[in-house]
Symmetry: C2
Subunit: 345 residues, 2 copies
DNA sequence: TTGAAAGCGCTAACAT
DNA sequence: ATGTTAGCGCTTTCAA
């Protein structure tokens, strides 16, 4: 069944069927109605590849993520899928696993399937492969930073806002000895988070201790390893802030293994606020970055380049907020409670 | 740049370029070499939609999952992507969120993008929409059950093997009071797991208590809710087996909330063995079902229908094992330890 | 073994 | 407002 079948059944030309489907305003409403009836009755839908071939628009949006097994990303993908579908786009998701080879393969896949636009949410652009996309004028959207080119939008995450809230929360509880476990330092977003942490520390008048700044890799294992390092160091901080929730969960686990208690022996703050943070033991205080907000902004940014609807924003940068969510992995530093109790007596 | 560019540069016809790319054996090796050189030099790749249009093969494999935010699925998707790409297929992932409307939308998307085959990993087919796929002779692969039609393969998960190991493990520790929190009962896989549990109980000579068979929904919240019900019931079991790990993590959390200890007050076994099960507190004893094995089998089953390679298996069913992984959420029932200690004295 | 040409299903320019 | 037709980039007969 093809467009000819419909044209024949509706007693019009294939051009009219095409126009009807594409909602060209000049079609006679009565004829359009007849065409739609035939389409519905025969359950017809156009061949997307033929359509893409001739129109040059695939109606596919690419989404490149670092690793799909980090719960942050499925939540992001879900939002992206939802918003994209809503606007008639199919999505092509692909993950790099922080591997430059795979990154290059991802770009290739995007190119081969002729995506109309691509969201690169790997929190750090690993290669100048992007030129291939830029050359073909494929609109792109990045997180944090991206090349300053036409067709490129940036989702600016305000790490500082949430992280400052976290540090202030810790400081208010009485913490002065605060560690930070970063993400992979070659990722720009990791650096941004660390910078925001250092700046917030300074705002609170706390001196940073270099021995308490550790590099993690945004995985569970990275979190346990960093916590182990901290434990080996002897001079333990009273609180630790993590660059993402997976790291924090690793920290929680290592503390459990070491027979220490959170938050009694160490307060822990995560970042992302993934769903599972609600049920960790103890429930994780975390800095929320809305996946849905990011997903929506990414699709919007791409659509703004692709379509000329008047309701689409015409900006290069989009702001993404972060906010502290206080749960139970943060409390007074050890000792303070006793003092409080004494004071009460 | 298109096939003509290459043909011209290599001084051959476009037909020869096409044959070269498609590795038709009749092409003169020297000419083929020349063509490949031009292709590499110009960094050319064929337009997939033109190719799909004329050949009728999209080289896209669909993958329908229930919910991408359940960590089991990202791990599955990752494997599926890897194996599919390895064989030259692109993937189209889509999630139903257990919503029949979305399921129907998923099928539609698969149809519109003309997938060559589709893996339906929703653990329970929600609708007879599949006819649309069957009519178009799209090969399908299901988990557990599927329509008995040509072109349909089934991944038979041996739930019984792993679940029996779990029950025996519990029985060996001295448990006789074992509860089960199932998945949504309209899903066939949930029923299978429950049946395997009941059968295993009987094998061990344990009487099932209907009050200890609860229906969950494979989410964290379902797990906490079911555990709450168990707590309210008063007559607490000494162990609980869960239909998936998310449920088990919910149980762990509710126990923590109730001020009870795992495994001292309750032993907990999960199912799936997702990555995070290693770092729950305590680390979760779980029944492993290999995502990668499922992913590989799914792609293999589809390829067996699509390609005529001699090395591809020609069977309708594929077996998937399950195995117990013992960690620290299971132990002796309360009281037994004391007895043991006494005995030691 | 290679080339010429038809045509996959559709959109869009042009003609009516 | 509707129809006719060229052609998107490729694969695949068919002829040489």
């Amino acid at each position: 069944m093809d467009i000819r079948t419909i044209a024949h059944a509706a007693k019009v030309s294939i051009a009219t069927v095409s126009r009807t489907i594409n909602r060209v305003p000049t079609v006679n409403p009565r004829i359009a109605k007849r065409v739609w009836e035939v389409i519905d009755e025969l359950n017809y839908f156009p061949n997307t590849q033929a359509r893409a071939l001739v129109s040059g628009r695939s109606w596919i949006l690419g989404l490149i993520v670092s690793e799909i097994t980090n719960p942050f990303f499925p939540e992001l993908i879900q939002g992206f899928e939802e918003v994209a579908i809503e606007h008639g786009y199919e999505i092509l998701v692909s993950s790099t696993n922080y591997d430059p080879k795979r990154m290059s393969q991802c770009i290739r896949r995007m190119l081969e399937r002729k995506v109309d636009g691509v969201a690169i949410m790997t929190f750090g652009i690993e290669e100048p492969l992007l030129d291939q996309l830029a050359q073909r004028k494929v609109p792109m959207v990045f997180v944090d930073i991206g090349p300053d080119q036409p067709g490129v939008s940036i989702l600016k995450v305000d790490y500082h806002h949430g992280i400052r809230q976290g540090v202030q929360h810790l400081a208010a509880l009485g913490h002065r000895r605060i560690a930070f476990i970063s993400g992979p330092m070659r990722l720009h977003s990791s650096l941004s988070r660390l910078n925001a942490f250092n700046a917030s520390l300074e705002e609170c008048g706390i001196n940073p201790n270099p021995a308490w700044i550790l590099e993690g890799d945004h995985t569970l294992e990275g979190g346990t390893a960093a916590m182990q390092t901290l434990l080996n160091g002897g001079d333990l901080p009273t609180a630790v802030m993590c660059s993402n929730d997976m790291t924090a969960i690793g920290v929680l686990h290592k503390m459990y293994r070491a027979g220490l208690r959170v938050p009694d022996d160490l307060s822990v703050i995560g970042f992302d606020d993934i769903h599972i943070a609600e049920v960790t033991i103890p429930p994780l205080t975390s800095i929320q970055m809305s996946r849905f907000e990011i997903a929506r902004a990414a699709v919007t940014a791409l659509r703004a380049q692709l379509e000329d609807a008047k309701d689409l924003p015409h900006q290069r940068e989009f702001d993404i907020r972060t906010d502290l969510v206080v749960r139970e992995s943060t409390s007074f530093p050890r000792g303070t409670m006793k003092n409080l109790r004494k004071a009460k007596k």
